[in-house]
Structure formats: C-alpha cells, structure tokens
C-alpha cells in the first residue's frame, strides 16, 4: 500500500506532463484548422440549375489595346490584342458572372478550398472575370515578369494595392459579399478585371459557350443573377426540385450596352447612422464620375 502510494506520487506528475505534451500548445505550430462547416442541407435532396447566356445583335467592334508602352506585352500577342469587352461566339456570351442572389439566406456553406486564380498574362487579366466565395483564397498571379500592380477597389471589402514587379503569386481573401469588385493595374491602364464575391459556392463565370451549371443546390426557389461588365445585370427566378435540373437562360442584347453596371453596390448601407443619409439611395449620384468599368 505504502509502495503504491510512492509510485503514484512519481507517476502523477509524469502523467500530467505526458498529457500536456500530447495535447500540445494550441498557439504553437500549425494554425488552427477552420471549424469544419458541413453542407447545411441533405445532399440527397439536391437539384441543379443549368443554363445559357445569349447575346442578340452585333457586339461592339473590338477595341485595339495599345501596348506600345510595354513592348514585352505587345510581343506576347501574335496580333494586336483587342479589348473583348463583349465576348460573343455563335450568339453565346462569355465573361458573365452567374450567381444565386436570393434563396440561400441563413445557410452557412463550407469555404471552397481550392484557390481561384486571376493571372496577368501579356498585360491582360486571364480570366477577366472570376468568382470566389467569401474567405476563399484568390491568387493574383503575375506571369509577365514585369511590373504590375493589383489595385482592387471594393466598396465593402477592404481594398488592397499590391506591387508585383516579378513573376509571383499573391493571395488575398475577401470577407464580405460584393458583386463586383473591380481590379486594375495602374501601370497598364487598359487592364481591368472583376471579382465577384458571394457567401456560397453557387456561382460561375460563363466561358465561350455561354453555358453555366450550378449544381447541388438545396431544393427551393432562387433568384439567379447574371452580371456583365458592359451590359448590366438580369435576374430570373427558378425553382429547384430534388434530382431535377431546372433550365434558365438569359439574353443580353446590343441595346443594353452602356446600361448601369453595378460595381460594389452596397449590401449593408453603412451610412444609415448619419441623419442626412437616411434615404441611403443614390449612392452613385454622389460621385460625379461613377466608376466606369471599362474604357471611358
């Protein structure tokens, strides 16, 4: 009995020490994994939305980009590069940001793990339009090896302006929903890109074929918005049923050129607490030169 007591005396501190070592210091070493968020609905019940974005009429003539100030970029292209602000092939419209605008409120989705990349190649953003989830890593890549700066001017996220004078990647994340965040390079005034940030994974940018595919949505009714940098926005309401694929199509047309293009429209009207601002409207009228998306 006495001996056992003695052993216990020695073992107890060792045991505690062992526990401490095993648990480790939470502040030391690898950063805490973000809390794993599960999909907030039963995936067995999911349905899908597919669709296509069409364009009617003649697209504006492609505008040549004068890259003479940056011969390395000019040399990158076999022909004089053009500013394809309205990218149409066979009546299908590319570079349209499609996302679920309404219908997912109150649901928490796991952050998309893969980074989304916006490359700077031949003094153009490739792709020109990207979508990301809040908290998802967005990688701005310089493949040109000459000075670019990535100047993001959001309204509701914090802005940044990164210098990239060499081939390099810089990662950033966006904390808040914002459609869209303009990105520009001040060294090469013709470079304009757009990042759409939403709080869920249901977003896509149309390619040449103009198609999009938002799969695995919980059943319900949604407002889907299509955003284009020159043609503005359109909305459609769609009902998603388990196992079904709902079809949606958007048609933009020539006469929509120059329509109001929302950039960073306020989601949370910050200015509400100042008396004269109660209306909270006309945010764009305040700026004599409202952000012009491309060219001026």
């Amino acid at each position: 009995m006495r001996d056992a007591h003695w052993i216990f005396r020695i073992l107890a501190p060792l045991l505690i020490l062992g526990l401490v070592v095993a648990c480790g210091d939470p502040d030391n070493g690898v950063p805490d994994e973000p809390e794993e968020v599960e999909m907030p609905f039963d995936m067995e019940t999911a349905g899908h939305v597919q669709g296509m974005v069409m364009y009617e009429g003649d697209p504006p003539p492609p505008e040549e980009m004068d890259m003479s100030s940056e011969p390395d970029c000019a040399d990158h292209w076999d022909e004089i590069p053009t500013r394809d602000v309205v990218k149409v092939s066979d009546g299908h419209l590319g570079d349209v940001f499609i996302y679920v605008k309404e219908g997912l409120e109150g649901m928490d989705f796991p952050t998309t793990r893969e980074a989304v990349v916006m490359d700077q190649l031949g003094c153009r953003y490739t792709p020109m339009v990207i979508g990301a989830m809040t908290g998802q890593t967005v990688t701005f890549r310089n493949s040109d090896g000459l000075l670019h700066n990535v100047n993001a001017t959001p309204e509701h996220n914090r802005p940044f302006n990164i210098s990239q004078p060499v081939n390099m990647d810089t990662d950033r994340t966006f904390a808040s929903h914002e459609v869209m965040i303009p990105v520009r390079c001040d060294v090469h005034g013709w470079m304009r890109g757009y990042v759409g940030v939403v709080e869920h994974p249901y977003h896509q940018v149309t390619g040449q074929g103009g198609t999009f595919d938002l799969s695995d949505l919980p059943p319900g009714e949604y407002v889907i918005e299509a955003w284009h940098s020159q043609l503005g926005t359109q909305e459609q309401t769609v009902t998603v049923e388990t196992g079904e694929t709902a079809q949606v199509s958007f048609t933009f047309s020539e006469d929509m050129l120059g329509s109001h293009v929302p950039l960073g429209d306020p989601i949370y009207p910050f200015r509400g607490n100042h008396a004269a601002h109660e209306a909270g409207d006309q945010d764009h009228d305040h700026a004599p030169m409202a952000p012009a998306p491309e060219g001026r």
Binding site: L147, R158, N161, I162, V166
Partner: protein, 548 residues
C-alpha cells in the same frame, strides 16, 4: 539631468492626456466632434463625410471620403484601417502637396480628438474591427553611396520609373493614365520635391509608404514583395534612401531678391546647357494657382521655378528651370487633359475644350523701375498701370515682348527676346536674354544695375489645359543686378570662415583645458557639436547628446 526632466515631463503629459482620451470616447464628445467637423471640415469633406463638400470640386486630389475607411497615410499594412494615431497625425499636420492643412495650432487637442472620433463614425466597421497593429518598421540604416546605388538598381528593376520616371519627376510612361480610387486623375509624385510628399519626406516616411502603399492611390504596397523574399527589408530601405537622395537636403528657401552677378563683357550664357550656369546661384520662386481673375484654375501643374540670373553690363540673361511632366503638346497626355477638364473645369467663363496646347512661361516687369515700393498689380497690371512681359511658348522659337493691362488685355510688342529652351526628363529649362537697354521706349523696361527691379512669373502646362488665366502665378519678387563683382565677395566669406574657425578652436581649446583642470581624472568627453567634420547626415536626435 535634462533627460530626466524630459521623462518627468512626458509622465506628467500622460497624466493629463489619459483622462482626456477617455472623455473623447464618450457621446458628448462625439457631439462636440460633429460641431467641430461641421464647422471646419464639412465644406471640403462633406457633412456626410463622403468627401463631397461644396468646395471639393475645386480640389485635386479630392478630399478624403471618410465613409470608405480608406486612408493613404498609415502605419498599418496595405488595405487595413489606420490607427487612431495615424488619423491624428493627418489632422495635426495636414497633408503637404494637397489642400489639407494641419490643425494643430487651430484647434484644441480635445477638439481634434473629438473630430477624429467623429470622422471614424462615418465608417462603422471602425467600431467592430480590432484596433490594427502598426507595422514594425525598424530603424533606418545609415545612408551611404553603396546603399543609394543599390536603391537605384531596385528603382529600375521593380519599375518605379513606370510612374515616377527615370529621373523621378513624376513623368513615367504610365503617369498620364493614373487615377485614384474614385477615378479622378492623380499625378505620380515628383520625387525630387520631398517637401510636397503627402506623408512626409524623410527617409523613414518614404520607407513606410513603400511598406504600406498609399491606399486609394495607384501607389502599391511592397510588403508582399519582402514577405515573399523577392527583396530584403534592407534593400527596401536602400530604395527609400535612393528616393530620398533625389530631393535636396532641405526644401528650397524662398528669398525676396534674385541676385544677378556681373560677368565679363560678352560672357552672358546664351544656351540652357552653357556650363556657366552651373556656378550661378538658384533662387526658388513658388508658384500658386491663379484663383483671382475669372476664369480661375484650381489645379495648376507647376508649383515653382528656379531662377538664375547673370548680366555683363550690356545684356541680362535668366535661366528658368521648372518641372513639367510633359513637353506639351504631347498626345500621350491628351487623355489626362480631357479628364482634368472634366473634373476641374470651373463653372465660369467659356467652356474649355481639350486641345493640343503648348507650355508657356512669362516673366513680368514693371515698364520702369519704381521709386518706392509701389508696383503694378501683380496679375499682369491694370488699365492705368500696365506691365512689361517676356512671353515664351514651347511651340515657337524665341520669346515675345508684350505689354499687359490685366490678364485679359495683353498686346504683343515688336521685336523678340532671345530664347533657348530644352525639355528633358520632366523638366523645362529656358534661357531668356535681352539687352539692358530697351529696343524702344514703348513701355519696355530699362534694366539698371544696383537697384532692386520688381519681377514676377507665370507658368502654364499646356497638357494640363492651362492657358490664359488658367495657370500658376507668383507674387512680385526682385532681381538685383550687381554693379561689379566686388573683391569683397570672395574675400569676406573667407575672412569670416577663418575668423569663425579660429575663434571656435580657441573656445574649444579653452573649454577643454578648463575641463581638464576642473575634473581631473573624469572621463574625457569631447563636445560632438564642435568641429567642421560634423556629419550633416547624422541623426539629429537630441537624446544622443550627452547630458551637460
């Protein structure tokens, strides 16, 4: 002892400051902040803090929009909100190179704190976000030739010149296209004028701007570059040292009288490049916006001119040097002109159209040397008191004599003024030359030696839409043509130098002897302030001085 007193003083100051800081956070002081703001700040920054006050349209860069929580000058990382101290610094010291004045002497400390809190309230995330951590900037390594040379290499390799230009005068290939976060045109800063830097012109401040960037402007942050290992922190310091080295040690001093020394007959330099100019003293004349005669102009591109003058008893020559980002008319700057007109066109006079305009410069004299201090109206005279002008423009050879009775009434006189001009790397240099005797007695000045002659200057940057009343002006200064180069010019300073030096040595020797006798065995402690080899670059930290 002095040091101890300082600490005591700082301690006392803290005791006084601390309660004040707490009070500032209370609602009552937010109300006070609103009163102060509405009275002093709202006319530019807007009652709602959106930077759109009634005066904002007359300013470029535009006043800060506080609703975005975006601040250029911070000690925090790029894109982060500023610390309270960062905002206080802007309120206290203002922003050189912009219309923002410092308020340290205008408002009480309590009012400034209150207005700071009120400004923060325009961007509610200030309430919920943690107070940001200022970055650790370390200490500046001492500047030396190697560091500056390495900084130059980085200036080239990371392409600072794209905006600031090879010689740093803000004329790089991207400069005409730059815009701020609100799409207003913005100039790449002229790195040779560090006294106009928004966030201060010391090497430490330059380094901070490199680390943090200047949010809301095209100036990016370089911290990522250091973090990613493309550049070491020390190399970034070297870049800062190089940038600092582009500007003079001290901002130019403004003096009332431009001295024109006398040279041997026939030796008045005729060209800009003549080496004789290298020895001639430069007098800096600040130029400001012409905002009196309609139509006014609130965005002049030229803010100063260096004047050198020589005469030989027969002719007088002036060499004028001013920084101008383009040799107007330059097609690359046409879009700049369009944008500047769009945002700055005053609602007065005929509408301004973008057009290829030359750069212009004018030197103004009275028609004759006045007896007293009375001079014609500085803005090109008046109907009863005309002025005599030399008018130069970049698209013509020579310069033109003229008579003006106000800015709207200028008539050319016959003949011409000899001129030689050169634009290079963001800088104009123009030599204007005329005989002291006038060519005709029709209101042209007869230059005389030994009397102060009133002189004033006007400058126009064509690519900035400037001409007529839209330009920069100076007030009256004087040019003084010395009669002979007296021997005393050379001898007096030498005598003074020798005397001062000798006296200094005597004083030092006496002090040292006295110290030795008084404190035998005490530490030898030479006074660092004595001796001609005091390094002008040395850190002027008063604490480094040993206590008396």
């Amino acid at each position: 002892m002095a040091r101890r007193l300082r600490w005591l003083g700082m301690g006392l100051a803290w005791l006084l400051v601390l309660p004040g800081g707490e009070v500032a956070a209370q609602d009552g002081d937010l109300e006070r902040g609103r009163e102060v703001y509405d009275r002093w700040c709202a006319s530019c920054h807007g009652v709602e803090g959106d930077g759109l006050g009634p005066a904002a349209g007359y300013m470029l860069p535009r006043p800060r929009d506080f609703t975005r929580g975006l601040y250029q000058i911070r000690t925090t990382a790029g894109g982060e909100i500023p610390t309270d101290d960062d905002i206080m610094r802007m309120i206290n010291e203002g922003m050189p190179g912009t219309t923002m004045p410092g308020w340290q002497d205008q408002l009480s400390r309590r009012d400034r704190e209150a207005v700071k809190d009120y400004i923060k309230s325009f961007y509610p995330p200030f309430e919920t976000m943690d107070e940001p951590e200022p970055l650790d900037f370390g200490r500046a390594p001492r500047a030396n030739e190697e560091r500056i040379a390495e900084g130059r290499i980085f200036y080239d390799s990371i392409e600072c010149w794209q905006c600031h230009g090879d010689a740093g005068r803000g004329y790089g290939p991207s400069a005409p296209e730059l815009e701020d976060d609100r799409d207003y045109p913005i100039r790449a800063v002229d790195l040779t004028k560090n006294w106009k830097f928004n966030g201060g012109g010391s090497v430490e401040e330059v380094y901070r701007r490199l680390r943090t960037g200047m949010d809301g402007t095209p100036m990016p942050a370089f911290s990522d570059l250091v973090d990613a290992g493309f550049m070491t922190d020390e190399q970034l310091w070297n870049l800062a040292h190089f940038v600092r080295s582009l500007a003079p040690e001290d901002p130019p001093r403004v003096r009332e009288v431009i001295r024109a020394d006398k040279v041997e007959p026939g030796e008045v330099p005729r060209t800009v490049r003549d080496e004789a100019w290298d020895e001639v003293e430069k007098f800096y004349i600040p130029l400001v916006a012409q905002i009196i005669v309609l139509p006014r102009w609130f965005d002049p591109a030229i803010d100063g001119v260096w004047v050198q003058a020589l005469h030989d008893g027969d002719e007088i020559a002036l060499r004028l040097t001013w920084h101008d980002r383009s040799r107007s008319p330059d097609p690359a700057w046409m879009q700049w002109q369009e944008r500047v007109i769009e945002v700055m066109e005053p609602v007065e006079g005929d509408p301004v159209e973008p057009a290829p305009r030359p750069d212009r410069f004018a030197v103004q004299f009275p028609p004759e040397i006045p007896d007293g201090m009375e001079r014609p109206y500085f803005l090109m005279g008046s109907s009863d008191r005309p002025v005599y002008l030399w008018r130069w423009r970049s698209d013509q050879d020579g310069a033109e004599p003229a008579r003006a009775r106000g800015m709207h009434e200028v008539e050319a006189l016959s003949g011409s003024i000899e001129a030689d001009a050169l634009w290079e790397a963001g800088r104009w240099q123009v030599v204007l030359r005329r005989s002291l005797e006038p060519a005709a007695d029709d209101g042209r000045l007869r230059f005389e030696t030994g009397v102060p002659i009133p002189i004033a200057f006007f400058a126009w940057d064509g690519d900035n839409a400037e001409e007529g009343t839209r330009g920069s002006v100076s007030s009256w200064f004087f040019v003084y043509l010395r009669e002979e180069a007296p021997v005393s010019t050379y001898v007096a300073p030498l005598v003074a130098f020798v005397l001062t030096g000798g006296l200094g040595l005597v004083v030092v020797a006496r002090a040292q002897r006295r110290e030795r006798t008084l404190a035998e065995g005490a530490e030898d402690d030479p006074d660092p302030d004595v001796g001609p080899d005091t390094d002008p670059d040395a850190d002027p930290d008063p604490e480094a001085r040993p206590p008396p």
